[in-house]
Amino acid sequence: MRLISLLPILAALAGTPALADWQDTVDTARGQTVYWNAWGGDDRTNAFIAWVGKRTEERYGVSIEHVRLSDTAEAVTRVISERAAGQDTGGSVDLIWINGPNFLAMKEQDLLFGPFVEDLPNAAYVDLSPGAPAALDFTVPVEGMESPWRLARFVFNYDSARVNAPPRSMVGFSDWAAANPGRFTHPDPSNFMGATFLKQALIELATDPAALQEPATDDAAFVGQTAPLWAWYDALRPNMWRGGAAFPENQSVQQQLLNDGEVDISMSFDPASTAAAIAQGLLPETARVFVPEGGTIGNVSFVAIPYNAANAEGAQVVANVLLDPEVQARMQNIEVLGSFSVLDSARLDPQARTAFDALPTAPALPTLEELGPTLPEPHASWMTRLTEEWARRYTR
């Protein structure tokens, strides 16, 4: 018995079991097809995923099948219904682009495979220390159950040919909308971008922003914290597009509205999306990015593996490839995707760092300084409650 309890220690002494394990994973993964369930609303992301698939196919014999979702929750539901049917192995979802409430839901219901992140060789390039951005997802500790792949920052964009002075703060939006009735809207809060707009305003308007880092369990506290938000929103809403009675489904639809000239302001979770959209002919050349003073919400996009994934090894290989400095540099290239890398530049070798420094820029691509400070996401429960309260107040 004593010998058995000693085994892990012996194994640890025997050298690099993690690396040996990794080789096992890579060997098993060969020949697998990873069904990566990822939001499919952005063509450049879709093309990037296809490119990653080519790379994993060439180097590891792992191919990627991109299952395009219109909402990440679809993948979560699929895993749930598989468990409901007792399908605990051989599930149809191998990898999910996930974060926030979807991650929380899956983690709480033990629907995730892991922890696996620290076993990925390329995780060495990421700062995973407790409290680091890549170790927290909407304040929920990641605990190795999902692997980061891209940074997201909440930004607004507008057409500088039509708008001279966009609002300088969230409070300023209600004055701006009063001066330009019908020219502003936000995605439906049941969509994460619409919810993020409300959260961004909440951070600026809450009586005690620090409380947002804790779960929103106390009803009285929720009412107190959000009272200024609803007062502000009640002033803003009548001056919104379609009188605040209808909302675009997501930010892609709103970007289309901006392109069509139906609204003057849109929003995105990707500072590079405006420059990318201009290059694709989806926004006018004059489109620009702006952020309120005081900074905006930022978070990390992750990939997670469901507990019943049929190709969990292949999925880990994909998660690892996504953290490859070469892949991350390509991802940050504005001509490819333009998403900021999740790697810690202090951990990169000089060659990789040069690759990042040499990336091209574009007029509509903001610099990190222009983006101002990154505000942490409130606890995921705030988003859920905000969305519910919004629906209760404004869905008639």
């Binding site: 499919g40 929750a73 539901t77 699929r78 899956m106 639809v253 289309q256």
Partner: protein, 578 residues
């Protein structure tokens, strides 16, 4: 001669075997999945879904559903759009028939209507969304006249009243109802009734309402119920054109079914029952209306009013229908336009710059979606056609007509709202390990393809000149030989038409493909609906154009192949023209 007769009479057991096989296939393949799916949904709606730890019967799911913000509005929207679209479609179609009947051959009108029937709902909705929106084609055409420098601030799509959804449904339904009425009219002595009515001094429109329609109604009642059930539970079109805050009930349920919170499946299932109840109530309403119409109609007919004034109404209906068709055609054209555009900003009537880029990258997804769509369409159509031929041949061999219940059985999948049983069916398929594969999707799609194929094939099959078969029999041809060398070749045109309809229905399937394919099987329709909420209309345009083009090509083939094969068979051409 005697031997041949003998063969014919001993074939009865064979016919019975065929009928038994068809019946078994129907029971196991069609009725069972629908019943089992409904049963699963009903259990979950009553609070029993052991997989998520809910085992007690309760009304809690229903209460939770009713307490959802905007539930009442969603219900009202569903009724207004569903009943409104159906009623207006029938009204317009009847008006057009009354005004245009006799001025157009059935063949010509069929050719005119086919593109609208072929275009899938989703593609039509995507096109309409651009055409009608405040920054769309119509507004762009009006902009210089009205002096708009920015899109006008009116909600013309996704409007809270659901008007855009009603228009969208009507663009698809008016042609369908029109075709159904036209085919019913071919069984009625319209000309004689009209002549008699007019000689008694009745106006044309009044003869239609008082004499012709009462005879037409029993023949179109089932198709009208299909339209009604569809309008009340449509998902793809409501997603694209309908209001969103709150949406119609079917969209609300889809949102609940795909919410990350697993417990929402209970109220979603309860909602699926409400949806089924709504459709059943609508049927009951229709029945009550029919009874009332019968009583009032008799009194009205006896009163003998000549009512010469119906004429303007007929022309209004015709004008509105023409407008609707024009809108539909422009919508389809705008899809093509977008797929070829690079920049197309407000207020340009035409794209500022053109590009083939969206078309030139099939690897980005449309090639795979196209091939998936083709495989599914081919498989479901082949399956449905085989079953339909077996059924009809079984009827022939038994020399028996179709019982009422059998007719209802065919219509069953079209009358039960899809969302009501697809969720439960998915759970069932998952248990069987079938979900996420082609087999599951083919099965689920065939549930909806088969009825249309069967309906399309039944009348031409029965209209086949029985002397041909009798002659073949008397020359010694056995039942199978008579089927393969006489009936099927002669029926080539209706067979191909039925196949084209099958392909069109398969291509248009959204919910069955989405639910049963576990999202893994991307078809032109699922991708087009997903892309309709993206920022790139150009790519959406490619998918929607392909989606509409495929059924159209199938119809064209159904028209051209017999024309080519039968170019030197005048009798068969006449058959096609009948």
């Amino acid at each position: 001669m005697g031997a041949a007769l003998h063969t014919v009479t001993t074939q009865v057991p064979d016919g019975r075997f065929l009928r038994a096989a068809v019946l078994a296939t129907m029971a196991l393949g069609l009725v069972l999945p629908i019943a089992a799916g409904l049963w699963q949904t009903a259990r979950a709606g009553a609070g029993i879904l052991p997989a998520i730890g809910s085992t007690d019967v309760s009304l809690a799911p229903l209460r939770q559903l009713v307490d959802l913000p905007g539930f009442g509005t969603a219900l009202r929207l569903t009724l207004v759009t569903g009943l409104g679209a159906t009623a207006l479609s029938i009204l317009l179609a009847v008006g057009v028939c009354a005004a245009m009947h006799g001025r157009m051959t059935q063949q010509a009108s069929g050719r005119l209507l086919t593109p609208f029937l072929a275009a899938p709902h989703a593609a039509m909705a995507i096109g309409l969304a651009f055409l009608l929106s405040p920054s769309g084609w119509i507004a762009r055409a009006l902009a210089p006249l009205m002096g708009w420098d920015r899109p006008p601030m009116v909600a013309t799509v996704n409007d809270p009243a659901g008007l855009a959804l009603i228009v969208g449904l009507m663009v698809k339904e008016v042609p369908f109802v029109l075709l159904v009425i036209l085919s019913a009219l071919s069984q009625i002595q319209v000309r004689q009734h009209l002549a008699a009515g007019r000689s008694l001094g009745y106006g044309r429109g009044i003869v239609w309402i008082k004499v012709i329609m009462p005879q037409v109604w029993p023949l179109i009642r089932l198709p009208v119920m299909v339209v009604l059930a569809y309008s009340l539970s449509v998902v793809d079109m409501a997603l694209i054109l309908g209001p969103s805050n709150p949406p119609t009930l079917a969209v609300l349920l889809l949102r609940l079914f795909s919410a990350p919170d697993i417990r929402l499946m209970l109220p979603a299932s309860a909602g699926a029952l409400v949806q089924a109840f709504l459709v059943a109530s609508a049927f009951a309403f229709l029945w009550a209306l029919e009874r009332a119409g019968r009583a009032i109609g008799r009194w009205w007919v006896r009163r003998g009013g000549r009512g010469l004034s119906a004429e303007p109404g007929l022309w209004l209906a015709t004008a509105l229908s023409a407008l609707l068709f024009a809108v539909g055609a422009l919508a389809m054209l705008s899809l093509l336009g977008w797929s070829l555009a690079w920049r197309w900003p407000w207020p340009g009537l035409l794209p500022e710059s053109w590009s083939l880029r969206a078309w030139s990258s099939p690897g980005s997804g449309w090639a795979e979606a196209l091939s998936n769509t083709l495989v599914l369409a081919a498989a479901t159509t082949a399956l449905s056609l085989t079953l339909a031929i077996s059924w009809l041949e079984g009827e022939d061999r038994a020399r028996r007509g179709r019982a009422g219940w059998a007719e209802a059985l065919i219509y069953l999948p079209l009358l039960v709202p899809q969302i009501g049983f697809l969720f439960g069916l998915n759970v069932l398929f998952l248990r069987l390990g079938l979900s996420g594969g082609y087999l599951a999707v083919i099965w689920a799609q065939a549930l909806f393809v088969f009825p249309y194929v069967m309906i399309a094939l039944s009348d031409p099959w029965r209209a086949l000149d029985p002397r041909l078969v009798r002659v073949a029999g008397s020359l010694g041809a056995g039942p199978w030989r008579r089927l393969f060398t006489v009936k099927l070749p002669v029926l080539l045109t209706p067979l191909l038409t039925a196949a084209a309809i099958g392909i069109a229905v398969s291509v248009a399937q959204y919910l069955p493909t989405l639910f049963m394919g576990a999202g893994r099987i991307a078809t032109l329709t699922t991708e087009a609906v997903t892309l309709s909420s993206s920022s790139d209309r150009r790519v959406t345009g490619v998918y929607a154009t392909l989606q509409a083009g495929l059924p159209f090509a199938a119809y064209a083939a159904a028209f051209l192949i017999p024309a080519l094969l039968h170019r030197n068979r005048r009798g068969l051409q006449a058959e096609a023209g009948a």
